[in-house]
C-alpha cells in the first residue's frame, strides 16, 4: 500500500509545533554563559578525580573553553590527501557470506603546479576470519558498527598508500568521519579482536606521523555533545561527579545540569565562532582511546567554515603543534571555500569509492555465476525472494 500521506502530514504539523525554538534558544543562552564562565582548571580537577563517573562522554578541556583562533594564512603550495570508503554486503539472506569494501582516494595539489591523482582499491572479503569476529564458531558476523571500523581501517591504510603521490612539503591527510573507532568499545569485543582491527590502524597513524603529514578527520554537521557535557560537569554541585548518584536529582527532581541536556556542541560554537575561526582544542575521553598510542589520542576543535560548524579531529601529535594545527585549520577552511562548504578532496575520494546500484548488481551476478560453476545454486532467503518478486 502507498504511504498514508494524510496521517504523515498531520504528524509533521504536530512535530513542528512540538519543536520549541524559543525554549532551545534560552537553554543555549545558558550554555553560552557557562562556556564563558566555567573555569577549565576546576573542571580538569573534577575529571581527574579517580572517583568521578560522569554519565556521558565528556571532552577534557586541555586549555580554555573560550579562546578562539583566527584563520591563519593558507600556504601557497600544498597538497590535500583524502580517503573515503563504501561497502557492499554482507547480506544475511545470501548463502555465502562476503562483503566488498571500496576505498577511494584523491590527492589534490594546489599552487604553482596544480594536479590531481585519484584512484580506488576494491577488495572482496570472504574468509571466515574476515567475515566473522569469532571465525571458529561462525559467530559475531562483521557488520554494522564493526564493518564501519573495518572501513575506517582500510581508509586509513589508503591514506598512507596515497602519500606516494604527494609532491608538496605542506600536506594534510583528511578522512570523513571520526578518528575514534568507537565500534571497538562494544561488549563482546575481546582484546584479541580489538587488536586485529586496531593494529593496522595504529600502524597507519604512526606512518603518517613518521612522514610529518598531519591527519585530520572532518565531520560535517556534527551531533557530538562532548563539550556541552563537560559544561554540565562544571555545573555539578556534588563533591564528586557521579551521575548515578546525582543529589540534585533527588532534592530538586532533576539534575541541575539538565538545562543543557539535548543541546549539541555545534549550536554552541555557531554562536561563539566567527567565520574562519576555530575553537580551542579538547581531548576526547572516549574509552576506546586508552588502547591508542599516546601520540595518537584524539583531540578535536570546532571550526566555522562559513556555511556551518564542522568538527575536526586530530591526533595528539598534531594537537600539540601550533604550526600543524594552523596548517590543518587553514587548509580545511580553504577546502571548504573551494567546495562550497565541504572539502572537494573528500568529495572526490567519495566519488571514487561509491558503489553504485549497477555495481552492486554486477557483484551479485558475478557471485551467482561463479557459484553456479561450482554447482552451488545461489538461493536467497524466501523472505528476500518475496520482497523482490512482490506478487499480488
Amino acid at each position: 500500500m502507498p504511504l498514508k500521506l494524510d496521517v504523515i502530514a498531520r504528524a509533521v504539523q504536530e512535530m513542528a509545533q512540538a519543536f520549541d525554538g524559543d525554549e532551545r534558544r534560552e537553554r543555549l543562552d545558558v550554555a553560552l554563559e557557562r562556556l564563558r564562565s566555567t573555569d577549565p582548571a576546576r573542571v580538569r580537577g573534577r575529571l581527574d578525580d579517580p572517583q568521578a563517573r560522569p554519565g556521558w562522554l565528556v571532552a577534557y578541556p586541555e586549555r580554555t573553553f573560550t579562546k578562539t583562533y583566527p584563520l591563519p594564512p593558507c600556504p601557497t603550495d600544498f597538497t590535500v590527501i583524502a580517503a573515503d570508503g563504501s561497502s557492499h554486503g554482507p547480506d544475511r539472506h545470501s548463502p555465502v557470506r562476503f562483503f566488498v569494501i571500496n576505498t577511494g582516494y584523491a590527492v589534490l595539489t594546489y599552487g604553482r603546479q596544480p594536479g590531481a591523482e585519484m584512484d580506488v582499491s576494491s577488495r572482496l572479503y570472504y574468509r571466515d576470519e574476515d567475515v566473522f569476529i569469532e571465525p571458529r564458531h561462525h559467530t559475531f558476523p562483521v557488520e554494522g558498527a564493526i564493518l564501519a571500523v573495518k572501513m575506517a581501517v582500510d581508509e586509513m591504510t589508503a591514506l598512507v598508500d596515497a602519500t606516494t603521490a604527494v609532491s608538496q612539503r605542506e600536506a594534510v591527510a583528511i578522512r570523513d568521519g571520526t578518528l575514534i573507532l568507537w565500534g571497538l568499545d562494544n561488549p563482546g569485543i575481546t582484546p584479541e579482536v580489538r587488536e586485529r582491527f586496531l593494529s593496522p590502524y595504529r600502524d597507519a597513524m604512526r606512518q603518517l606521523q613518521g612522514m610529518g603529514i598531519p591527519l585530520a578527520a572532518y565531520i560535517s554537521y556534527p551531533n557530538a555533545d562532548d563539550v556541552i557535557n563537560t559544561l554540565r560537569v562544571g555545573m555539578c554541585p556534588d563533591e564528586v561527579v557521579v551521575c548515578g548518584r546525582c543529589r540534585t536529582k533527588e532534592t530538586e527532581g532533576q539534575p541541575r545540569c539538565a538545562v543543557l541536556a539535548t543541546l549539541v556542541d555545534r549550536y554552541l560554537f555557531a554562536r561563539h565562532l566567527k567565520d574562519g575561526e576555530r575553537s580551542d582544542i579538547f581531548r576526547s575521553l572516549h574509552p576506546v582511546l586508552k588502547h591508542y598510542d599516546k601520540e595518537q589520542i584524539v583531540y578535536f576543535f570546532y571550526l566555522n567554515v562559513g556555511e556551518e560548524i564542522a568538527r575536526v579531529e586530530v591526533p595528539a601529535w598534531v594537537a600539540e603543534s601550533p604550526r600543524l594545527l594552523d596548517r590543518v585549520h587553514a587548509i580545511i577552511y580553504d577546502q571548504c571555500q573551494r567546495g562550497g562548504g565541504y572539502p572537494p578532496a573528500l568529495v572526490e575520494a567519495h566519488e571514487q569509492a561509491v558503489i553504485t546500484m549497477a555495481d552492486r548488481q554486477l557483484i551479485e551476478e558475478m557471485v551467482t555465476r561463479e557459484l553456479a560453476g561450482h554447482s552451488v545454486i545461489y538461493t536467497r532467503s524466501e523472505k528476500d525472494r518475496s520482497k523482490r518478486v512482490r506478487g499480488v
Partner: protein
C-alpha cells in the same frame, strides 16, 4: 602524427572518441583516421562536447570575483580528472593495405578503445582528391545541421591543403551537384565556404 583520442562508442556510421586533451577536440570538419591492422578508416569530426565523466554529476558554477576562466582549473585541479571532452566522427572512407582510398562505409565499425589519429597533410590531400564522400557527409546524422558540417569540413580541408583555391572551386561544384534540388541548403554551404 599524433594520437588524439580513444574510441568509446562505435557503429557502422561513425564513432565517439574521448579526446586526450580536455576542451580540445579536433577541429570541426577535420579528417581523422583509425588504423585497424592493415586497414585505415577515415572519418570527419562532426561534433564535440565537454561534460562530467559521471553523468550524474552536473557542472556547477565555480567562478568568483578573483578566480575565473582558466584560473578555475588551477584552483580546482580535480576538474582535469572529473571532466572529459568527447568528439563524434562520421565514417567516410576506407583504405585496405596500400590500396586505393575508397569513399564508402567500411565493412566493420572500428573497434572500441582503438586510437584516433590526426591525418597527415599527404593523407588529407590523397583522400580529398575525390569528393563523392560529400554525399555520405550530407546524410550523416552527426548531431550538427548537415549544411554546417559540410561547410566546416570544406573550410578545414581548404586550410589543410594550404588554401588550395582550385580544390575549393571543385568542392563548390560538387556541393552544387549534390544540393541541386535544395536551394536554401546550397546557399548556406556556399556562403559558409567563401574564403
Amino acid at each position: 602524427m599524433a594520437r588524439i583520442g580513444e574510441i568509446v562508442e562505435t557503429n557502422s556510421l561513425g564513432f565517439v572518441a574521448e579526446s586526450f586533451e580536455l576542451h580540445r577536440p579536433p577541429a570541426l570538419g577535420s579528417l581523422v583516421r583509425v588504423s585497424v591492422d592493415d586497414r585505415s578508416l577515415y572519418a570527419v569530426v562532426s561534433f564535440g562536447a565537454t561534460t562530467g565523466i559521471d553523468p550524474g554529476r552536473r557542472a556547477v558554477r565555480r567562478s568568483t570575483e578573483e578566480v575565473f576562466d582558466e584560473a578555475i582549473y588551477r584552483e580546482h585541479p580535480q576538474l582535469e580528472r572529473t571532466l572529459r571532452t568527447e568528439f563524434q566522427a562520421v565514417l567516410v572512407g576506407v583504405r585496405e593495405d596500400d590500396g586505393p582510398m575508397r569513399q564508402v562505409l567500411p565493412p566493420q565499425p572500428p573497434p572500441l578503445h582503438y586510437s584516433v589519429w590526426e591525418c597527415t597533410a599527404d593523407e588529407v590531400c590523397a583522400f580529398t582528391e575525390r569528393l563523392v564522400y560529400f554525399r555520405l557527409l550530407w546524410h550523416a546524422n552527426g548531431g550538427l545541421p548537415a549544411d554546417q558540417l559540410l561547410a566546416a569540413h570544406i573550410r578545414a580541408i581548404y586550410a589543410a591543403r594550404g588554401d588550395d583555391l582550385g580544390w575549393l572551386e571543385g568542392a563548390a561544384r560538387e556541393v552544387a551537384t549534390l544540393l541541386r534540388d535544395d536551394y536554401d541548403s546550397l546557399m548556406s554551404v556556399l556562403q559558409g565556404i567563401e574564403p
